[in-house]
């Protein structure tokens, strides 16, 4: 039986064993042309391997790696906050505030994933700077990371601003904002729509990142930790 081209290639790839291998070995030893062919196959393999190897070291495009990070929502959110700020050439908020945002956000995000019903209608979006009763109650009593009912406002973060007022970042399904406690009550400083109902967690996370970035710009010092937040609540946010 003669040695086929398939056998030569398989031999070059180390795929042959036993009799077949011995047969090709003998043929290669006897025929320089076959030996050159085996060499050519191996050289080609090395060339292709070297050609494609650099792909392994290229930075992974974010659109690909982020798809897998989304498997763990809390982690995806935290990572995308940092990314969002990097895109704007800012220091990642998460790195500075990470120890405060991290655990609270993880809890809040998991709660959000669980409670946000898909296709829920838009909840009321305040547009004139006034604080509705549900939001006021949330601002007064809710701590970061507390579980909330679907559609209700959640508190994402608390901090103090340049006037030494307490401020809180909140969001509902489709909108969020920052309210600060003035003498007469809660005053909305900023508000924004956060993505569409159908949007991915990423786009929402990005928008939430905008909100947190705005908060960081307003904040003096770090975000309140749980203890400071509880104390501030006990003092009526004054």
């Amino acid at each position: 039986m003669s040695v086929t081209e398939e056998m030569i290639a398989a031999y070059a790839d180390g795929e042959l064993t036993g009799d077949a291998r011995a047969q090709v070995e003998a043929a290669v030893a006897a025929d320089p042309a076959l030996a050159r062919k085996v060499e050519a196959h191996r050289a080609l393999k090395a060339q292709l391997g070297a050609h494609f190897a650099p792909v392994l070291d290229e930075p992974m495009p974010d659109r690909l790696s982020s798809m897998l990070r989304a498997e763990s929502p809390a982690e995806a959110e935290v990572v995308s906050f940092a990314k969002e700020r990097e895109k704007r050439g800012l220091v990642p908020a998460v790195r500075r505030w990470g120890i405060y945002i991290g655990p609270a956000m993880a809890a809040a995000v998991i709660a959000a994933v669980v409670v946000m019903p898909s296709g829920a209608g838009p909840d009321p979006i305040p547009t004139n700077g006034t604080v509705g009763p549900q939001l006021a109650a949330a601002l007064d009593t809710q701590l970061v990371g507390d579980a909330v009912d679907a559609g209700d406002h959640r508190i994402l973060l608390s901090f103090t601003n340049a006037d030494s007022r307490y401020c809180r970042v909140y969001r509902s399904n489709r909108a969020g904002g920052i309210a600060c406690r003035e003498e007469q009550g809660w005053q909305i400083e900023q508000e924004m729509l956060l993505g569409e109902g159908q949007s991915t967690e990423f786009r929402q996370a990005g928008s939430e990142g905008d909100l947190l970035a705005a908060a960081q710009d307003m904040a003096v010092g770090a975000a309140l930790d749980a203890e400071q937040e509880a104390e501030a609540r006990a003092n009526g946010w004054r």
Binding site: E15, L44, P61, L64, S65
Partner: protein, 158 residues
């Protein structure tokens, strides 16, 4: 799955012929793998499963794209295919890529799985879903064609 990503991406770029198309293919593969993750059987190789998903998508959906492209670019423009757009400027279309793209898809995937991804013939045949003998002969035709093309090419543009 995250650890597999660089290798999957390499296979995708090799199949599709450009980083942009490769990343699109990679994205579709991840999407499909995530939606069908319950179909993956514990104890079997995740990498083979994902490679199979990728090549199936490529065969199903990539074909139309490739055909469109081949129809609308002339021979000279064809040299620049895959390097359109500034973000890809660093990736020049080399002789190796041109040679790979000249192969029929069944030979190209066999060449990539065995010679780049390092699969044994049996594993590669399982990914492709063909007998080992068929894979072996596709591989031989593919690599002979590559050797022919690359031997004719001057060393400095490989």
């Amino acid at each position: 799955m995250l650890e597999l990503l660089p290798r999957l991406r390499r296979f995708a770029i090799g199949l599709a012929g450009s980083p942009t198309d490769g990343d699109d293919l990679c994205q579709m593969t991840i999407e499909r793998a995530l939606t069908r993750r319950d179909q993956w059987q514990e104890g079997t190789r995740l990498d083979s499963w994902m490679y199979r998903i990728m090549r199936n998508i490529f065969i199903d959906e990539g074909r139309a794209t490739t055909r469109r492209r081949e129809t609308f670019v002339d021979a000279d423009a064809g040299l620049a295919v895959g390097s359109d757009g500034a973000q890809e400027a660093q990736v020049e279309l080399t002789m190796v890529e041109r040679a790979m793209q000249s192969l029929p898809e069944d030979q190209r995937e066999a060449v990539l799985l065995v010679m780049v991804e390092g699969y044994a013939y049996k594993e590669a045949a399982e990914i492709v879903g063909c007998p080992v003998g068929t894979l072996n002969s596709r591989l031989v035709r593919g690599r002979d064609a590559l050797l022919d093309i690359l031997e004719q090419a001057p060393e400095d543009i490989r």
